[in-house]
């Protein structure tokens, strides 16, 4: 039955595109099929004006248990290299997205699943969620940008323990160390993520495109960021959305942003 085939489904809720990882036989393990499907959706979303925010989640009560080991048997070094190169394309599609991304994590975000979650702007964990850079357990190192994304969220000591010892981090600890931004009661992570995605979708999109791009260059020297904010703000001051924002501010009402 096609339900059991590894894929990523897309549906729309208001201005939020919901992408669901689905590989039910293997706890949404990340396979080349999933990657191809995810990149396809992200490419379509990038040019779809009806989408203002993206929600990334996993089917069946778990996010993703990591890379699909069954697809890594008998891989040559160059096949492995090709796989990492293809992974990079997906990382770039997420990291370079001009639309904000929220991740809802129930169950496991292990290995590549952790890497994928960390490419989101905002992560909500269900209280049963656990996070682990489990690569070392199968003799591998972290990938999909983990050496870059993880230390941006957690401090150096913890990043080393997670990457070198495959420490498993439960939801409450993940919140305390800055790995996730919120914890939701069991079964409520998706709801919380959808609410946050709605907030992001209602925010003015043009400044957030520039903010996302600037933060994507982190870490950068002070003057690079001061130049970025000046150039960006100069453009934004003349946008329709800033006019609307100022009118709403003076009229004491909520602004409606169009992305223009």
């Amino acid at each position: 039955m096609s339900d059991a085939e590894p894929t990523v489904t897309r549906r729309q809720d208001g201005a939020v595109a919901i992408l669901t990882l689905s590989n039910p036989k293997r706890r949404n393990a990340f396979s080349p099929e999933l990657r191809t499907a995810l990149v396809g959706h992200l490419d379509a979303i990038a040019v779809d004006d009806a989408v203002r925010a993206i929600l990334l989640t996993g089917a069946g009560g778990t996010f993703s248990a990591g890379g699909d080991l069954s697809t890594m048997q008998d891989m040559t070094a160059f096949e492995g290299r090709e796989r990492i190169r293809a992974g990079r394309r997906m990382v770039e599609a997420l990291w370079g997205s001009e639309k904000p991304i929220v991740a809802a994590v129930d169950g496991f975000a292990f290995g590549a699943g952790l890497s994928l979650a960390l490419l989101a702007d905002w992560i909500v964990a269900g209280e049963d969620a656990s996070f682990c850079a489990s690569f070392g357990k199968v003799g591998l190192m972290g990938d999909m940008g983990l050496f870059w994304t993880l230390p941006q969220r957690v401090k150096a000591g913890k990043a080393r323990r997670m990457l070198m010892l495959a420490d498993v981090v439960a939801a409450d600890e993940a919140l305390a160390i800055g790995l996730v931004e919120a914890v939701a009661p069991k079964g409520k992570a998706f709801e919380a993520a959808l609410k946050q995605a709605g907030i992001m979708a209602a925010a003015a999109p043009l400044p957030n495109r520039l903010t996302r791009e600037a933060l994507g260059q982190f870490p950068a020297p002070l003057d690079d960021m001061l130049a970025y904010e000046a150039h960006g703000q100069g453009l934004l001051f003349t946008s329709q959305d800033t006019k609307e924002g100022l009118n709403a501010f003076f009229e004491k009402r909520r602004p409606v942003f169009r992305g223009a």
Binding site: P219, P221, E229, H231, L236, E244, G245, F249
Partner: protein, 259 residues
């Protein structure tokens, strides 16, 4: 010292206290305020008797942010220049040699939030509210927040605050690392002065070298080594380090002169 209508300058021992006073606009950073901050910071930093600076706001609030009355009539070039000009006081705060403590009551919004985050140490009342409010009027963060905030709260929290204009109150701000000390309402300045006195008593040459190193964030390993190599030998030769070694062996408290 230059005491203007919008930025008052006072002294408390070795601490200069800069108070933004534009209460009618909740201490909004008008062109006048921004222009007044520059000489106030320059004079405090060039005065050898000033070893620490406290920056605060009058009337129970820190600063509501930019002067929105100017924003309706901008061209890209003018807007860019207005934001670029903030570099003058941000450079003085971040790259200057004197440690700065921010005392925050009430609102630290928009560029006012930026001023608070540009300080070395932040004292806030439990009732203080922080918000990168820019997105609410279709703008992106400025006031150096793209640089300062992720260093203090990590990238996940920074993205939430910068992209969703989330309001963060005192206790949460302390938990996240945006605020270093929390006080009851009305006590932020008093606590900041006490903390600033501790910064003032620390060895000034070393403190300014450390502040200078943080200003160059992100430092890669080679650059960090180079900085140590360039600066530490000079500090070792300073009068303060010589006196401190003598005081250490005599089991006395050193008194640093900044020489």
């Amino acid at each position: 010292m230059t005491d203007t209508a919008t930025v008052h300058v006072a002294r408390d021992g070795a601490v200069a206290v800069l108070t933004i006073d534009n209460v009618k606009q909740r201490n909004a950073l008008t062109m006048q305020v921004k222009a007044a901050l520059v000489p106030a910071l320059e004079e405090a930093q060039s005065n050898p008797d000033v070893r620490a600076i406290v920056i605060t706001g009058a009337g129970g609030t820190f600063s509501a942010g930019g002067d929105v009355s100017l924003f309706g009539d901008m061209t890209p070039a003018k807007g860019r220049q207005v934001v670029f000009d903030q570099r003058k006081f941000l450079h003085l705060m971040i790259r200057g040699e004197t440690p700065i403590v921010a005392a925050v009551e009430g609102f630290a919004f928009g560029a006012g939030f930026g001023v608070a985050m540009a300080a070395d140490h932040v004292v806030a009342a439990t009732s203080a509210k922080f918000c990168a409010a820019f997105n609410k009027i279709g703008l992106m963060p400025d006031g150096g927040l793209l640089w300062t905030l992720p260093q203090r709260v990590g990238m996940g929290r920074a993205r939430d605050m910068l992209m969703c204009a989330t309001v963060i109150e005192g206790a949460e701000a302390k938990r996240l690392g945006m605020v270093d000390m929390l006080t009851e309402p009305g006590k932020a300045l008093e606590t900041a002065l006490a903390k600033a006195a501790r910064f003032a008593a620390a060895a000034p040459l070393a403190v300014s070298a450390i502040k200078g190193a943080f200003a160059r964030y992100p430092l890669d390993l080679e650059a960090a080594f180079a900085l140590e190599l360039d600066v530490q030998p000079a500090l070792m030769q300073s009068q303060d380090a010589t006196d401190a070694r003598r005081a250490f062996f005599a089991k006395q408290k050193p008194v640093f002169k900044g020489a």
